[in-house]
């Protein structure tokens, strides 16, 4: 029953969607319906009344018109999809019809129709409409009853009054009711709208919130990413810090190490410096360091002493200037200094005289890391006055000795010769002859000794200059041989000269000295040979020319060979056994010295006791280009 009612509610409301129209519109529509109902009912009712009172054709026409209007209106409304209104119109017509019938006929028929009509309308209509019909019926009944009771008015009048009395208030009631419900409906509608609005707002906000949430999520993701990055950066930073700390530690350690090294190096340097300084200071010669501008950069104690600067003022500028003056103006060394500074070789000045003092100088160019001293010159000054004087006294001694010793000896010898000549005439004075011979012999020997000693002295001191020249050995040897031939013949010895087929064999030597050597060897050979042959042999090689003196004499023992060429040697095994005719034992020593000074060699090649000896010396072959100096 309820479901049917809901279904018909739906039909009635089909045309109106209270949500799609606003409250005002709804009200208008409902008023419109109300008016239509009233109007149609009034027309219908009036027509019916007319019909009843005067059932003329006009009343029937009026009814038909009303019906037609109803149908047309219904159709139109149907067309406008207002079926609910159509239904309500039809129902209204049915009421009118029912009323008509009531007034035409007896009351019971009419009531019968109403009894039928009421439930039908309750089913088909809205509750409100049904209620309306019931109330209307009740009022009509009441009126009817009242007026019937009163019996004052006619039936027809009563009907009219009843009609008016019923409809007007009911319509008004309906309107009022409608109004109230409308108001409620409106409120509901408004509330509904508000709710809708709120819902929309909420939805919007929800959407916004969800968007925000999305954003937030996004931010959160980004944040977590950043967080991760931060964490990794943090850990990287921590690592770096750790490394930095380690490095710091290492740095400290190596710094300490370097400091230690620097300390030890500084100490070493100080020591070195101290050593160097003390070396320089202890040198008995003056050392002056001159920088590249020719100014005195440094000097040692001896240098200051040299120019007479007291110790207190050593290393002062005044002192330096004094030294500078000494070197430049007094010793006049500037040109040497410049010469040295421009080259890489040392400049040696073996002797320089200044104010009765003799100096020996050496200048060396300085190559140093220090830009000031680089390009400068080191000047070493040695005062050799004492040495020079010594040399001079040696020279003087030599000269004097040479003269003073030999003069009387020469006189002795000469006189002895003269004496012997005097005595010659007197053959009887044999003893006197012997005396004279002895005198001559002694003086000869003495002279020989003195000569040898002096010569040796001179040689050793390098005082004897050598005239190295182109010398033909063949001719020279011939000369010496010839000179010694008488001596050899006297001793009945054979003297042989073996020379090669060359016309000349030239050496670079001093003729006098070479002659002296050959003479020495030959006379030795002759002296130590009692019988046999003495051979002088010349031979030549690519580099040198060799001269050999062979004898068949007594020979030299192995023992004596050891110091044969030493000073004061005599080739006798027994030191006490002296060779009476041998003078000094210097002969071979001098000969060796002479040969060596001429870049040659003198050796005993071989010697066999009682068989003989071979002495040989060699000299370098003369070459055009070689101009050697004696060693």
């Amino acid at each position: 029953m309820i479901r049917l009612g809901a279904y018909f509610d739906q039909i009635l409301n089909a045309g109106i969607d209270p949500q799609s129209v606003d409250a005002a519109e709804l009200r208008r529509i409902k008023f419109f319906y109300a008016y239509i109902f009233i109007g149609i009912f009034a027309c219908g009712g009036s027509a019916l009344v007319l019909l009843m009172s005067q059932p003329t054709g006009f009343s029937y026409i009026a009814l038909i018109i009303t019906l037609t209007i109803l149908v047309v209106l219904g159709l139109v409304l149907r067309f406008l999809k207002r079926t609910d209104v159509v239904v309500q119109l039809l129902l209204s017509f049915f009421f009118a019809l029912a009323w008509f019938i009531l007034i035409q006929s007896e009351t019971t028929t009419g009531i019968f129709w109403l009894y039928v009509y009421a439930p039908i309308s309750a089913l088909l209509l809205r509750r409100q409409v049904a209620l309306f019909w019931i109330i209307a019926f009740a009022v009509w009944i009441a009126f009817l009853g009242t007026f019937s009771w009163l019996g004052t008015t006619t039936y027809e009048e009563v009907q009219v009054y009843a009609f008016v009395a019923t409809f007007l208030p009911i319509s008004l009631f309906m309107v009022a009711y409608r109004r109230i419900t409308e108001k409620a409906e409106r409120e509901v509608y408004e509330k509904d709208i508000q709710l809708k609005e709120l819902t929309q707002k909420l939805e919007a906000e929800l959407a916004f919130a969800s968007r925000s949430k999305q954003q937030l999520d996004g931010l959160s993701v980004a944040l977590s990413k950043q967080n991760k990055k931060l964490t990794s950066s943090k850990s990287a930073l921590l690592n770096l810090l750790e490394d930095a700390r380690q490095l710091e530690g290492e740095l400290k350690r190596s710094k300490a190490n370097v400091e230690k090294q620097v300390e030890s190096r500084t100490r070493e340097l100080s020591l070195e410096r101290a050593r160097l300084a003390s070396t320089l200071e202890s040198l008995p010669i003056a050392v002056v360091l001159i920088d590249k501008n020719g100014k005195v950069a440094d000097a040692n104690d001896k240098a200051y002493e040299l120019v007479g600067v007291p110790e207190a003022h050593h290393a002062s500028r005044v002192a330096h200037r004094k030294i500078s003056t000494f070197i430049d103006k007094k010793l006049q060394l500037m040109k040497f200094i410049q010469q040295c500074s421009n080259s890489t070789a040392c400049v040696m000045i073996p002797e320089l005289t200044y104010k009765d003092e003799f100096y020996k100088l050496a200048l060396g160019p300085v190559e140093s890391q220090d830009s000031d001293t680089n390009g400068g010159v080191v000047v070493v000054i040695e005062n050799i006055t004492a040495q020079k004087l010594l040399d001079r006294s040696k020279d003087e001694f030599l000269m004097i000795a040479s003269h003073e010793l030999r003069t009387p000896l020469t006189a002795i010898r000469g006189d002895a010769a003269v004496l012997s000549k005097y005595i010659e005439k007197d053959m009887n004075k044999k003893d006197a002859q012997e005396l004279v011979q002895d005198i001559r012999g002694s003086s000869d020997r003495l002279l020989g000794v003195v000569n040898d000693y002096l010569e040796l002295s001179s040689l050793e001191q390098g005082k004897i200059p050598f005239n190295l020249q182109r010398l033909d050995m063949i001719a020279l040897c011939q000369q010496v041989i010839d000179e010694n031939r008488p001596l050899a013949t006297d001793k009945k010895l054979k003297l042989v000269y073996k020379k090669p087929r060359n016309r000349t064999l030239c050496v670079q030597a001093d003729p006098t000295r070479v002659a002296q050597v050959i003479q020495n060897l030959l006379s030795n050979a002759i002296h130590y040979t009692q019988k046999g042959t003495i051979t002088l042999e010349l031979s030549a090689s690519e580099e040198k020319i060799t001269c050999r003196v062979k004898d068949t004499g007594v020979g030299i023992s192995k023992f004596s060979q050891k110091n044969l060429f030493d000073k004061f040697n005599q080739a006798q095994d027994n030191l006490l056994t002296r060779d009476p005719e041998r003078s000094t034992g210097l002969g071979l020593y001098i000969a060796k010295l002479l040969i060596e000074k001429m870049h040659g060699h003198l050796v005993l090649e071989s010697s066999v006791l009682k068989k003989g000896s071979v002495f040989a010396f060699s000299l370098p072959v003369y070459r055009n280009e070689t101009k050697k100096k004696p060693t």
Partner: protein, 123 residues
């Protein structure tokens, strides 16, 4: 044959006496001067055949005398032999440059050799 005149200028009396005896024995006309200045003059006046000149002498030394002798037209033709114990090559060279005709080392030449040398130089 006339005896050759030898003039010796030598400051040492020992040696001068010795040479005088020596040369006289060997048949020479011999004169000696102990003083170089006197000797120089005498060379000019006496005109010997040969002058024997010592080097180491007071006042004028031998080389100076030699120079003077050779500078003087009157005496430069006379052969001069230096007779000395100075064995210095430089001195020898000097003497030769100054015009000495010989250089004789006293102690190296025994008397006979000395006479021989002089005889040679006279020729």
């Amino acid at each position: 044959m006339t005896k050759k005149k030898i003039h010796l200028i030598e400051d040492d009396p020992l040696l001068s006496r010795m040479y005088e005896r020596l040369f006289t024995i060997h048949d020479f006309d011999f004169m000696v001067d102990l003083d170089s200045q006197v000797g120089l003059e005498r060379v000019k006046t006496e005109k010997p055949d040969l002058v024997l000149l010592d080097i180491m002498m007071p006042n004028l030394n031998g080389l100076e005398v030699l120079k003077l002798l050779k500078a003087d037209d009157a005496t430069k033709a006379i052969p001069v032999v230096m007779i000395t114990n100075v064995e210095d090559d430089d001195t020898q060279k000097q003497a030769e440059e100054l015009g000495a005709d010989g250089y004789l080392i006293k102690s190296r030449f025994d008397p006979d050799e000395t006479v021989e040398y002089v005889t040679k130089k006279l020729k």
